[in-house]
Each structure stands twice: as C-alpha cells, then as structure tokens.
C-alpha cells in the first residue's frame, strides 16, 4: 500500500481504510498542521503510524484482528471451503448430530450445518462492512455540513438527532425492516437509515471544534474554497473519532443483522444467516442442541473479536481515552 502513487492517495474515502493505508496521504498533508495533537503525537510526526505501533503491541486486539481476517477469508472463499452447497437437502439424514461425514451435523431438512455456517460468515461480513460504508456515506457529509454551516440547518439536524435518540435504535430498525420486507438490500437500507445519526453527531462535534482553529483560518486566508476547506483541512483532522466509531459500528451492524434474522425479518430464508440459524435452532434446543449452539458460538466469537479489535483501535488512536 505504501507504494501507491502519491496523487492517487488524496481522497477523503481513502482515509477510512485501516490506519496503515492512510500513512502516505498523511505525509502529503504537511500543509495542514497537526499542532492540535498532543505533544506525543506531534513528536512522532505521524498519528496513524504511531497508532499502528500501539495497536501491534496490544495482543488481545491483534488476536481479534487475526480472527476477523480469517472470517473475511472464509467469507470470500465460501464457495471453495464449503463441502456442500448451502441449499442441498438430504431428507434421509435430518437433524443429525455432528459426525465424520457432517462435522457440525445437519439441520431440519438435512442440510450440512458446516456449509451453512461458512456461507453465514459471508452474510455477516457483508452486512458489517457494507452497512458501515452506507452509514459513513450518509453520516459524515451531513454531520460535516451541519457543523460547518451552523445556523438553522444545524438546529434542525440536532433536533432531529435528539428525536432519533429517543427512539430505541433496534426498535426503529425492526420497524423499517417489517415495512420494507426481508432481504439483504433492505438490511443495508434499514441500518443505513438509522445508523448515520451517531456518526453525524460525532462528525459535527469534531468539525465544530476544528473549524475555529488557526490553520483553518490560514487556509481560508490563502483562498481555499468551502469544499477544499472541508475535505482537505477539516475532515482529515476529524478522522480519528470517525475511524473509531466505524470500528465499533461494524459489530453493531453484524449484531443488528443477526437480531433481525433471529426474529425472522432479516435475511430471506434459503440464504443462511447465523442469527436466523440460532432463531430456528433454539426452538429445538432440547432435542437437537447442535442446531443453535454452533451458530451461537460463531456469533459470540465474531462479536468478541470485533470488540477487542475496536477497543485496541480506540486506545491506539487516542491515548488519552483509556
């Protein structure tokens, strides 16, 4: 990544990739002084590289990162890894306990549980990453504009956010899902519609604080326009809390999908989802424990890995926040 040509690196979206990716761009951005960072970060001259070094030292976070990487690989290569197609039924072998032939057993219609779990990883990862992209694409511009412009637009937005906060988040997602109907695209829409509020609030607060700094005034004095000020000078400096909020948003989206599928308004049935497998399996927990236990373990491991990794990223990027 460090080899990418300098010019290609300067894009706002690029900064939202993992910290390692952003280092070449940060170096280029010399003209936006980082005097606002703590003394420690200023000395090492590069917040992201510094953060990465701290993150590497955090063993729990690295373990989480490795598991996440593995899950992503499983999701990408599900077609190769799964021993059977996830729709292949076998009515001669229903609800079988784990055996050599079916390592995790079979479900109510004789489908191989291992294969369904592998494809389930694909759904989870897709929702986690995809929904977060939508959330960022909606939340960051709205928050940034509201913070930068101020005035009536800002008041409207903060009022709206207040109302959205009074609404229990999951309740709203369930409501939207039941209105739109089940399906992967609709999950993206539902999470995107409800999730941008938090990140918009974060961005707004950051922009509010940064737009008063001298270097922004300096850039304005040098003739930088509105768009340039926002995308080149203000947002790059507001990136840390946004990155942190994205790292925590991913497991939240995964949880939301699992929860929706659990109550039956998430993924459409033939597609396997861990949450839906737990939801169906828990009804037969007394007779066929394996049906819900394996997907439960998968969800638990995924959520814990993302939590450890997210905690690590937060601590690494913001040494003050511990």
């Amino acid at each position: 990544m460090a080899l990418s040509t300098p010019a290609s690196g300067i894009k706002l979206g690029g900064g939202l990739r993992p910290p390692s990716d952003t280092s070449p761009q940060e170096r280029l951005r010399g003209q936006s002084p980082r005097s606002n960072e703590s003394g420690e970060a200023a000395r090492s001259s590069n917040l992201w590289r510094d953060g990465l070094r701290r993150l590497r030292k955090n063993r729990l976070a690295m373990a989480g990162g490795v598991v996440i990487l593995l899950l992503c690989l499983v999701a990408v290569f599900a077609d190769v890894l799964a021993p059977l197609p996830y729709t292949k039924t076998n009515f001669g072998r229903l609800n079988e306990a784990p055996s050599r032939e079916f390592p995790l057993g079979t479900d109510q219609v004789g489908r191989d549980l291992l294969s369904r779990m592998i494809y389930g990883a694909r759904v989870s990862m897709l929702v986690g990453l995809g929904a977060q992209i939508i959330v960022v694409l909606i939340g960051v511009p709205i928050g940034a504009l509201s913070g930068y412009l101020g005035g009536r637009a800002d008041i409207c937005l903060t009022r709206f956010i207040d109302v959205m906060y009074a609404f229990p988040r999951l309740l709203f997602v369930i409501l939207v899902m039941s209105a739109l109907g089940a399906g992967l695209t609709n999950i993206f829409i539902a999470i995107g519609l409800t999730g941008w509020v938090g990140i918009a609030r974060q961005t707004r607060a950051q922009v509010l604080a940064i737009k008063e700094k001298e270097f922004v005034d300096g850039a304005r004095a040098l003739g930088a326009g509105f768009g340039r000020l926002l995308t080149r000078h203000i947002l790059p400096n507001a990136l840390t809390p946004i990155v942190v909020s994205v790292t925590f948003g991913i497991p939240e989206a995964i949880f939301t999908e699992a929860a929706l599928s659990f109550i039956g308004v998430g993924i459409n049935p033939p597609t396997p989802s861990w949450g839906q497998m737990v939801g169906e399996g828990q009804q037969y927990i007394r007779s066929y424990w394996h049906l819900c236990v394996f997907p439960s373990i998968a969800i638990a491991i995924t959520m814990l890995s993302f939590t450890f990794f997210g905690d690590g990223v937060r601590d690494a990027l913001d040494p003050k926040l511990k």
Binding site: D162, V163, A166, F167, P168, R169, L170, L171, I174, L175, V176, S178, A179, L180, G181, P251, F255, A258, A259, F262, I263, G264, V265, G275, V278, G279, Q282, I285, R286, W289, C292, V293, S296, I299, A300, M303, L304, F306, T307, F308
Partner: protein, 308 residues
C-alpha cells in the same frame, strides 16, 4: 428547578408526536395492506368485503385524517382493536402484557445495577489482579455477545448440563432467573466498566487520600467516599440502559416464552397489526422518555454541584 422539570416534561409532547408520525408514515408508506390475506396464495377477499373492512377500521380515510383520529383516541388511551387478535382491544392486550415486561425489566435492571456496581468496585479495588480480570472479562462478554446468544449458552449450561432452572415459561420465581440474568448481562457489563473507570479515578483523588490520612478504614473510604462520587457518572448510563433492557426483552421474551409486550410486538410486526405496532412503540417511547427525565432529575439530586 421546577421550571426545568416543566420544560422537560413539555418536551415529551413533541418527541412523542414525532415518534408517532414517523411510525405512522413508515407503516403506511409501504406496499401491502392488512386487508391482504395473511397466508401466501390464499384467496383474496372480495372487493366489497375489503371495502367494508376498510370502513370498519377507518382505513379508507385519507392518511392525515387517519393520523388525527389515531392521535385523538390515543390521547384517551384508546388504541383501537388489534387486527390480528380481532376480539381484543390493543389496550386490553397491553394491560395484560406490559406488567410482565415491566417486572422482567425491573428485575433485570436491579440485577444489572447491583451486579455491575459490585463487579466494578471489585475490579477497581483489586486492579490488575484476579478479580479485575474476572469482572472485566464478564463485562466484555456481556456487552459484546448478543443476548439471544447468551440465552442459548445459559439454557445449555443451567437447564441441561446442570438442570437448575426451566428452559422457559413465566409461572414461578424459578422461571424468572434465566430470563433476568440474560437480560441483565449486557447492562451489567456496561455499568461494571464505567464503575471501574470512575472508581479508579476517584480512588486516586486527593480527597480519598485525605480520608485515608485521617485514619478511616478501607471499607469507609471505598463505600462512603469513593463510591458516592464514582456513582454519579454511572447514573447517566441508566437512561440508555432502560432502552437496552426494553429492546433486549423482545429476544429474551421470545426465547424464554415470557408472555410480555416484546413477544407481542414481534408477532404484531409480521402480521402488520398497525394499532398494536403504534401502541407498543408509543408505550416504549413514552416510558423511555419519562425514564430519561427521571434519570436526569436523579442526577441533579445526587450531585449538588449540578444546577438546572
């Protein structure tokens, strides 16, 4: 102070109105009507019958009028008849299920506060020793792992491996244990984390040192001086905690077959039971808003430094 309470209470009205409007719009903006047959491929109702039904339920009127009618009735506690359970009014169903959810929620919240405080204090007092690790790992698991997954593990452990508690139902206090624990773990973890952090801060503060220097015993220092101050940031958490327990109860109630509001809500969702959905969401919303207000006032009462 009095002015503040009145202002906050008045804010409840627009908030609830906005919630009602959003819910109403989302429910009606989508294709599909409650008059369509529930089962797939079933015979559709004749146009006349559909028209008659629409008239009975007021679905033939323009949307703004429907909304106005709904608001007028809701203000008097009348949410209409359930579309799915046609013989019962929504108010009846709520009267039956809300107390169950409230009991479960209260039990879970009590456990969360007591358990969370205990874990947080232990972790702070024995920082970087075994108790700290135990409580931090418990808190992390509670926060990170969804409650329906925790429910599966708890059922396996405490109903099958060690058969202590039943897998579901809501008849005796013994049935209450597993749902309460499941629902309490997430808020308990959050409270434990915050208590630990704020206790650690307070324990190192000067006034704690002074208390020790005066020769106070360890117990008095921790409970009288440290905990009182460490508790204040924890109180702010109680607002979101109510929301977590409220939405968490959908899953916990359906897994453990608890006859509460959450379970009815999930059922009403798939049946497009408009009156039921509106009523449940507004009940939750009103409850949460009131609780947030109570928490804010409590905050002021606990900390004399805060003035309104």
């Amino acid at each position: 102070m009095f002015q503040y309470i009145v202002a906050r209470a008045l804010w409840l009205v627009p908030t609830l109105l906005a919630m009602a409007l959003v819910t109403f719009l989302v429910m009606h903006a989508t294709p599909g009507s409650p008059l369509d047959p529930v089962a797939e491929g079933a015979n559709p109702l004749s146009p006349e019958a559909q028209k008659n039904l629409a008239e009975i339920y007021g679905l033939d009127k323009p949307l703004p009028e429907q909304f106005a009618i709904f608001l007028g009735k809701a203000a008097r506690g009348d949410f209409g008849t359930s579309f799915v359970y046609k013989t019962r009014t929504v108010a009846e169903i709520l009267r039956e299920t809300f107390p169950v959810s409230l009991l479960l929620g209260a039990l879970a919240l009590a456990l969360a506060v007591v358990g969370g405080l205990a874990l947080g204090i232990l972790a702070a007092v024995y920082q970087n020793r075994m108790w700290d690790y135990v409580s931090v790992s418990l808190a992390t698991v509670g926060v990170a792992v969804p409650n329906f997954v925790l429910a599966v593990f708890l059922i396996i452990l405490f109903s099958f491996v060690v058969p202590l508690f039943p897998t579901g139902g809501w008849n005796s206090p013994r049935d209450w244990v597993l749902p309460t624990v499941t629902l309490a773990l997430a808020p308990m973890g959050i409270i434990a984390r915050f208590t630990r952090a704020s206790m650690l801060e307070v324990i190192r503060a000067d006034f704690t040192l002074t208390a020790r220097a005066k020769g106070l015993g360890e117990r008095a220092v921790i409970f009288k001086h440290a905990l009182k101050n460490a508790f204040i940031p924890v109180v702010t958490l109680l607002g979101p905690m109510f929301a977590a327990v409220g939405t968490g109860s959908f899953f916990v109630e359906s897994i453990f077959r608890v006859p509460g509001m959450g379970r009815f809500f999930v059922l009403s969702m798939t049946g497009r039971d408009y009156p039921m959905i509106m009523a449940v969401i507004l009940t939750y919303g009103a409850f949460l808003a009131v609780m947030n207000l109570v928490v804010d006032l409590l905050y002021g009462a606990l900390d004399p430094r805060i003035r309104y």
